[in-house]
Point group: C2
């Protein structure tokens, strides 16, 4: 998948690249100030290289993807992902510019993006949560991002021709295959790349491999992940893809974007808030309890879901009332003037959200499980130094995740019930 | 959508076209026998022109699509449909050659296909059913066609890369938009193209337009039609797309092929058998009762579903046992050597068919409704000369179809229960 003309940049050649493009370099400084620019490589993800370039006029970020995974040079990965990231950033910015870094430039041959720098005090959310922080505006911001991007790229907003065109532009095949493997397959058998806290969790890892119900449930979710094209998803919407301050929230790292089930984006977010909650039990100490933060994490989960539903529904109702809905709920059947139009619309909406929540919870369960039994672990648990304490938090998480995955209906279709049950694990 | 180099053939130029291509004309006779060839245009469909060409050595069929619908010159239709038909015939023949006419030739510029002629006593099934005939092998043949084509183009047989490639090749956008309109939208509002037996059915046509539950149900099915990519469907699998004898069954007219929900193909077949059953009540006379045929139609519905499930499951189990399943049920999780592999596979299969049947019945209901309230009617009902008798059969059908669409669960997940309820309508 190596692209002709490709070359990997480094902290020196990044400067040259930008200085040769005054429209870009201008964000940093005039090209004759180049020697005064500083470049730092800050990529903390598993996959790409991210350079922060600062100069007299300002700063920007340059992200480049190599033809393999950063942490595993023997794991090739399509460089098309840079194109998907650029196209997804553009599409997201169309619907929710307030939570997306501005894209300045995309270079297909070099597989790189140049974008707005999110300066301190912006932090990546995951380590900030692991450090015990809370961000009161987060649930509302994420809900807004999800509602606007998911609604506006669905058949509720688009006619079927435009929607099919959009779906076709995001055939992110190799990246999706990665997800199919690491979330929906590996954790349920003894995949060589798996790891877990051992020997403490050996019993549970073994149990999942023998778990008929879990395997049936994960297969139904895998089918939805592959087959259900509802909207353009971010595709990797977890706390490591968010940069936040007290007042702002940005969604970065859109390279996993594809057309899939809405519940997958929402479920990943729910999973990652719950992961922070469960990990908190192992991260807190008698001197530094996390009672407040952990309460906030559960409350944030409820608030995020409620705001998402409210806002998505509002957009939906407004589009029908405004006379410009997508093809799924045409005005002729659901408009104010249509016979029983508003009542029919309400019925469709109730069915929609009632059907969505079980999938959200199922995907959430799957995501928690894969972070503990699969290849890619998270700092939330990894920062619990004592292996026994870590295993205890992980065990609790796994048992809870299995309920989400397999006994979804036991929560009676309520996120409140889910967080109550999570709180009761302590 | 007019294609450069396109020209419409007629009964004369069809001969020239074939005579210039000896590999094709050879099916009919040597080119110097051309003057002795006969050409008949037999297209009875709504859309295309079909020529039967016969000569000293044999016969063939040439099907050409114009850039508009045959019965409505002001309704443009993409000529790409010929390509979809050719590609679908090839794909179907790969999995089920015994029920597909052989494709001899496809010409993209002229939007035409040349294929195997199905000679007398082959009949189009729909008018044969309307004439009171039965075809004992039909249910089994159709079940075989559906099981083999649907299984082998699904993620149960293919890896996700090959499957996505297949799905991408069948982006039959304009044809799907037609279906979205005529099945999933028009019948539920006063669309100008709608018609029904009037005034007898005015009350029911009005009731469907005000029917909150029916509109909610049809929207959920429309979402599946558009969003759920499970397998390559025939897309227009009704009794007018089948040519049969006592012993043979051929599936023709694959121009609606697209990647969609498996239940749509199966549901269309179920609907059309039930349509023949309900219409039979109006077609029979005291002198020529249809008791036997109508019993057979219900029994055929049950048999078709049962054989379909049995064969689809057999292919599925065999692919896992054989070590070459698609990506949805990998051997590592479901193989004979995997922990709880066979039990897990059985659980997935049970979930699959239990989830499939309600969609089959829902689509079946939708298809019956559209044939009575929408634009395109069928000879089954149209042949009932007396308007009151026709309306009576249509009323019964509509009421039953609404149960299929809205009260799907009242049948307790059993096709036997469905046909019992249909029999009880008499
Ligand atoms: N726009 C930005 N502003 C500031 N820092 C950024 C920006 N984009 C990325 N980063 C930093 O780079 C890291 C990796 O970026 P990310 O897009 O997540 O790459 P990867 O695809 O490798 O995971 C982020 O976690 C963050 O620390
Ligand atoms: N292979 C064939 N052999 C014999 N008759 C055929 C064949 N294909 C089509 N026909 C005849 O032509 C009619 C129209 O063909 P069809 O493919 O259904 O066209 P349309 O797309 O216009 O509905 C069929 O109903 C049948 O009578
Ligand atoms: Mg990242
Ligand atoms: Mg990334
Ligand atoms: Mg036809
Ligand atoms: Mg054949
Ligand atoms: Mg046709």
């Amino acid at each position: 998948s190596k692209i002709p003309g490709f070359r990997a940049l480094d902290t020196e050649t990044v400067k040259d690249y930008l200085a040769e493009r005054p429209d870009l370099g201008g964000h940093v400084g005039p090209s004759d100030s180049k020697d005064a620019w500083t470049v730092r490589e800050v990529g903390d993800g598993n996959i790409n290289f991210v350079y922060i370039v600062e100069g007299p006029s300002g700063a920007l970020v340059l992200k480049q993807g190599l033809p393999y995974i950063r942490i595993a040079h023997d794991w090739p990965l399509t460089q098309e992902r840079a194109r998907f990231e650029a196209e997804a950033l553009r599409e997201e910015a169309r619907h929710c510019p307030e939570h997306v870094p501005e894209l300045y430039h995309y270079d297909g041959a070099l597989c790189l993006l140049v974008m707005q720098y999110l300066p301190p005090p912006h932090l990546v959310l995951r380590p900030a949560l692991t450090a015990g922080r809370s961000f009161p505006k987060l649930p509302c911001h994420i809900a807004h991002f999800m509602a606007t991007t998911l609604f506006n790229t669905s058949l509720l907003a688009l006619d079927s021709k435009a929607w099919r065109e959009l779906v076709g532009r995001f055939e992110n095949v190799d990246i999706c295959r990665l997800t199919e493997q690491v979330i929906f397959t590996d954790p349920y058998y003894s995949a060589p790349v798996n790891r877990h806290t051992s020997p403490q969790l050996d019993d549970l890892a073994h149990a999942f491999q023998h778990d008929v119900e879990a395997k049936a449930a994960i297969t139904a979710l895998k089918a939805k992940f592959l087959q259900q094209r509802q909207a353009l998803l971010h595709g990797d919407l977890h706390t490591g893809s968010l940069m936040v301050t007290e007042d702002t929230t940005y969604v970065i790292d859109a390279e996993f974007a594809f057309a899939g089930p809405i519940a997958f984006d929402v479920g990943k977010m729910v999973a990652n808030l719950l992961i922070a909650f469960f990990a908190g039990a192992g991260l807190q100490t008698p001197e530094a309890p996390r009672t407040r933060q952990r309460q906030w994490l559960l409350q944030a989960t409820v608030e995020m879901w409620a705001s998402f539903v409210a806002e998505f529904k509002e957009l939906w109702t407004a589009s029908v009332k405004g006379g410009k809905p997508g093809d799924l709920c045409p005005s002729a059947l659901f408009g104010e003037e249509a016979p029983a139009g508003p009542a029919s619309l309400q019925a469709v909406q109730e069915d929609f959200f009632q059907g969505l929540l079980p999938d959200v919870l199922g995907f959430a369960g799957a995501v928690i499980i894969r972070r503990i039994l699969g290849i890619a672990h998270v700092v939330d648990y990894e920062n619990i130094q004592d292996a026994d304490s870590r295993a205890a938090a992980e065990r609790q998480s796994l048992q809870f995740a299995r309920r989400l995955l397999v006994e979804t209906s036991s929560f009676g279709g309520s996120v409140e019930a889910v967080v109550k049950a999570a709180a009761a694990c302590d």
